[in-house]
């Protein structure tokens, strides 16, 4: 690291000493112009995000190959790959994947619509807030897991219960973040809208909703994560299909390789869906210039 900094310093010294020869600069003790320390994290390392995971996989491969990892605790990577191929051949992985993904998608979509609607109603009207905000805060204090027994009594152990659980989990972050964003629209913009004599409709469509969009998208990211978490929970408690069921079944037969296949699929799903939300964020919020880019 040090050498890189030195090189940069030498270069800039060479240039600015010549240029500043005629200018009376306040003399520094060393005589070399200072290179300003940058406060940001600095330029990105190529493939920086992949380094940590790659290291973990390497440890896994090494540990399994050297026999340091007991296959009953953690199957070797190649066993997992084999299991992956076998599960695909049998069609089990695809079937379970489709079941799980559609549960998640349906739950997420319904929760998204309900959460957004509630947030908009509570965010734009005092009566709405009085009616909605309290119950949501109460629901927020109850862990979704704790509701499952009640939901089973109400909906049985079928799809209805599973989707409802996901919906209830997803509503919360969507509502909280969207509502908060709606409530914290800068009052200067409200003033502006007043002086421009904007109609209520224009005010909501041009100022309030676009201004709350970043908050909504943040809520969406949390919601997507929560959606997968609750999916796992409902599928491992009471299910006869789905990834969680596949994993739970593998547990009873002690098949760590199948468990790992399931986990890998969960990881991919989580990463892909988070990536999609981020992509959406970048497309929709082009006006934002943030530290990230």
């Amino acid at each position: 690291m040090a050498t890189v900094w030195d090189a940069a310093e030498v270069k800039s010294t060479g240039r600015s000493s010549r240029q500043s020869a005629h200018v009376a600069l306040p003399a520094t003790k060393t005589g070399a112009p200072r290179v300003r320390r940058r406060l940001g994290p600095g330029p990105a390392i190529p493939f920086g995000l992949q380094i940590g995971p790659a290291l973990l996989v390497l440890l896994w491969v090494g540990g399994s190959a050297l026999g340091l990892i007991d296959p009953r605790i953690l199957s070797a990577p190649w066993t997992v790959v084999e299991a992956f191929g076998r599960l695909i051949e049998q069609g089990r992985l695809q079937d379970n994947f489709v079941t799980s993904a559609s549960r998640a998608l349906i739950g997420l979509s319904i929760g998204l619509v309900i959460g957004t609607l509630l947030a908009v109603i509570a965010g734009l009207s005092r009566i709405g807030e009085a009616l909605i905000d309290g119950p949501i805060q109460i629901k927020r204090a109850i862990p979704t897991l704790a509701l499952i027994p009640l939901l089973i009594l109400w909906f049985g152990i079928g799809e209805g219960m599973k989707v409802t659980t996901i919906v209830l989990a997803v509503i919360i972050p969507i509502y909280i973040h969207t509502h908060n964003a709606l409530r914290s629209i800068d009052s200067r913009y409200v003033e502006l809208a007043e002086t421009l004599r904007m109609s209520q409709k224009d005010f909501i469509l041009q100022v309030v909703l676009p201004g709350a969009l970043p908050g909504f998208l943040l809520g969406l990211r949390f919601a997507v994560t929560l959606c997968w978490v609750s999916l796992v929970v409902v599928e491992q408690i009471n299910a006869t299909s789905g990834l969680g069921y596949m994993i739970d079944l593998a547990r009873t037969y002690g098949q760590t390789d199948v468990i790992l296949v399931g986990l890998v699929v969960y990881v991919l799903l989580g990463l892909v869906s988070d990536g999609l939300v981020r992509l959406l964020e970048r497309r929709v919020l082009t006006w934002r210039r943030t530290l990230a880019n």
């Binding site: 200067r188 913009y189 003033e191 502006l192 809208a193 007043e194 002086t195 421009l196 004599r197 904007m198 109609s199 224009d202 041009q206 100022v207 676009p210 201004g211 969009l213 919020l285 082009t286 006006w287 934002r288 210039r289």
Partner: protein, 245 residues
Amino acid sequence: MAPHASQLNAVHVRNLVRGFKSKTILDGVDLDIAEGEFVALLGKSGSGKSTFLRALAGLDHDVEGTGTLETPENLSVVFQDARLLPWRTVIQNVTLGLPGANGQDAGRKALAEVGLAGRETAWPNQLSGGEQQRVALARSLVREPALLLADEPFGALDALTRIKMHALLRELCARHRPAVLLVTHDVDEAISLADRILVLDEGRFVEDLRIDMPEPRDHGDPRFAEFRSHLLRSLGVNLPGRKAA
């Protein structure tokens, strides 16, 4: 049919009182601004200039007060910050709340007037501070206001940009002829732009000065200097060794 006095005026204020808690900020203020008249309002920091301007703009919902206040329906405000919506493009900001295609054309024209033709689809945070303030001016102009209220609109700009903005504002006002109330800290700015200068102090206008110099006004003109020292004295600034006159 003799026109009523207040119909000729863009602004008609009588005995306006405004205050916060028990503190009185405006203590029975009277003011008439004629149509097309350019008035600058000076005053120490905290003297209540913004309070007065916000009262005219109808933005002081939760300020206590009494008095008569008549302003045209069609007034426009320029704030110290450009106050552009960051999530709307420049042209969308200019035409905010205006209906349809007419608005689009007028917006384009207004942008050209402030020298920003071609920047229609830029985002506000891609513009410099001066450019943002010009967009805010275009946003005001496109509504053809009868009264333009500006609260230190150039306060955040550097001296060079400010001089250019003065010229632009003078030109725009000459063309559109709105009545203007410009709140400013800058005595020179007030003298070079205004037809009339008010000084607010202790809740009252203590000065109402007509600036009858031809435009453009030369800062080196001895009358300019005279106005300046007079106003500075009203503002409580005593320049030492300047009692030559």
